[in-house]
Symmetry: C2
Subunit: 359 residues, 2 copies
């Protein structure tokens, strides 16, 4: 959910057309040796994150990924390999390349398996950053399936009761189709906030609400710390023990079990920054009950949630996916507001790589 | 996670032998016409909750369930029926009887399906209260599988930004096997606390931490309110919007999608108190990678989490399932400390029903 005080102000933003942005970013990847299909797929997922207002997981990532490719940390072109396979499951190696490519293929495979057996589950190892996890969960929607996507990451969050980061922000995404209402799309870090939000607060020069970050003594930190400084940790969702911090921590470890341990890629505590392993699931609704009935009940439930009387200071109660869908509609029409320094960086990187400058 | 200030004090407790308690409770159910197998199964699950220290979901429930049977709200004996079936999924009707029976059968079916296809998923409709959800998730452990169990319930928690309860406490349980360490067993309400904790605080006459409950204006409530009073709601896990209340709320709705909407039984907002629909999943680890390697990595991860430096006031960092496993060991030896008023109630109910008084 976007926090208003962390939005890029219109004065600092340049509105960019999504099509040109996709082409610009895909060109950057191609110029690094990424095959056209993989380049376009990755650009598509990055721009979708920007369109949905998930700016921390948008085209800003392309700067980092092209650098990882340049220094040889990613294997390009990458080769996806199925390491194990059963009617409803598979383990896929991402081939140490762009995380987006393996994660996308894993959800495609999960959907195929779900069509045949009712459920499909694919774990991905040898992976890297996969961006906005909601993208993969949402791939199930057009097939009238429920989609679930998770990924782990290096240590950012402290276990409840501890003072050192040992668990990743380990997000969970869950998407379910509807009829007339917007689809239900949950996409959440299992820490209080995603680590990108700390970086964004730092870039914008704003302080963070108490409860996001603690120091080595467990004391709250409100000035955004430097990323390389390891003397801080995110709180798990829930915060203190009496308010459920052990739950956010437990969910983070659950994600590690499904992504890192089940795939063999490794749990958060073993992962260097930039290594990420994933887990995708698709559930074929029609194997349980008629899809039309499922969707009608989804609509009814969402309408009832929207109709909840709001607390003072809140206009109306939202359902997961509402803010992102609204931003998607607005930015699809008016263009994506990128911070002008990011536009400069994207142009400079394209110049460096020799790809076309299209924004 | 047990909150110390909410424990029954030894002075108020009578230690009861688990075997006698099982037999006492099973006898009560049989005296209501419940078939022997269903009676023993339900008693077993209830006593396991007490052994694990989950007192809100233990044999105290038998008072309520025998009353539901007496007034004809439960159909006894119940008939389980498979309403739809695919290689990896099924929809099971609980036949409007004891929720425990259908939930247990659903996890058995999920395990059978997982052995055949890699994953099994069974949704349950026509259900009632299923108690401690961890029980079902843990059934997968001895099969070297990962188990997941969820159930929905009537409205207790407010959506983030709303002031009226519209979502159940909708718990999630997740269990994964280990080698030498205790298994990882997460069992959490998606609200800040389970509603039973409010009832327990009321019974014990203690006040609640700020953050558990709000009134109709969204203001915190610390005096435990009466259950029939609808002017309060639990907070979703995370609490306020800036600290992630929309995430706990989103997880609660996710549980409703899988349990209530996928099964057709209905989401929290439509459920009368005591109606609950469920969803079980088993994942066969060996379809992904060798079980021994999986378990060795689980052990390594858990040991690393335990080794996190603790914050001031915390002895050592725990992993989900630790407190319950410790309590299980202690109570298996020393007996289950039941509040003396509960022992009186269980004796009185047995007398009323004409079953043997064994505690």
């Amino acid at each position: 959910m976007a926090l208003d005080f962390m939005k890029v102000s219109e004065g600092d933003a340049i509105r960019v057309a999504p099509d040109l942005l996709r082409a610009h970013v895909a060109g950057m990847f191609r110029a690094c040796g990424v095959p056209d299909g993989h380049a376009r797929l990755t650009a598509e997922i990055l721009v979708t994150a920007d369109l949905r207002g998930v700016d921390t997981h948008g085209v800003n990532g392309s700067i980092r990924y092209t650098e990882e490719i340049r220094i040889g940390r990613y294997t390009i072109p990458q080769e996806l390999r199925v390491l194990s396979d059963s009617p409803a499951t598979a383990l896929l190696s991402n081939g140490n390349g762009l995380g987006y490519v393996g994660a996308h293929r894993a959800m495609e495979m999960a959907i195929e398996k779900a069509r045949a057996t009712g459920v499909g589950q694919v774990a991905v190892c040898d992976g890297h950053h996969i961006g906005m996890v909601a993208y993969y969960a949402m791939m199930a929607l057009e097939h009238d399936m429920i989609g679930v996507a998770m990924t782990n990451s290096t240590r950012h969050a402290r276990p409840a009761g501890g003072v050192e980061a040992r668990v990743g922000t380990n997000p969970i995404a869950f998407a379910a189709p509807t009829w007339h209402e917007r689809p239900f799309v949950l996409d959440m870090a299992t820490s209080t906030v995603a680590s990108g939000k700390v970086g964004l607060a730092r870039r914008l020069g704003v302080s963070m609400p108490e409860g996001w970050v603690v120091d080595r003594h467990g004391e709250p930190v409100t000035t955004p710390p430097a990323p390389a400084d390891h003397d801080w940790a995110l709180n798990p969702l829930g915060g203190s023990l009496s308010l459920g911090g052990h739950k956010g921590y437990g969910l983070g470890v659950m994600v590690d079990v499904l992504t890192g341990v089940l795939s063999g890629g490794g749990y958060s505590g073993r992962l260097p920054a930039g290594d990420n392993h994933s887990w995708m699931m698709a559930i074929d609704i029609r194997q349980f009950r008629p899809v039309a009935e499922f969707k009608a009940m989804m609509d009814e439930m969402i309408a009832a949630l929207h109709a909840t009387p709001p607390e003072p200071g809140t206009d109306h109660v939202l359902v997961a996916g509402d803010p992102e869908a609204k931003t998607f509609e607005e930015r699809s029409r008016a263009g994506i507001p990128l911070h002008r320094t990011l536009v400069e960086e994207l142009r400079a990187r394209a110049r460096e790589l020799g790809s076309a400058i299209l924004i």
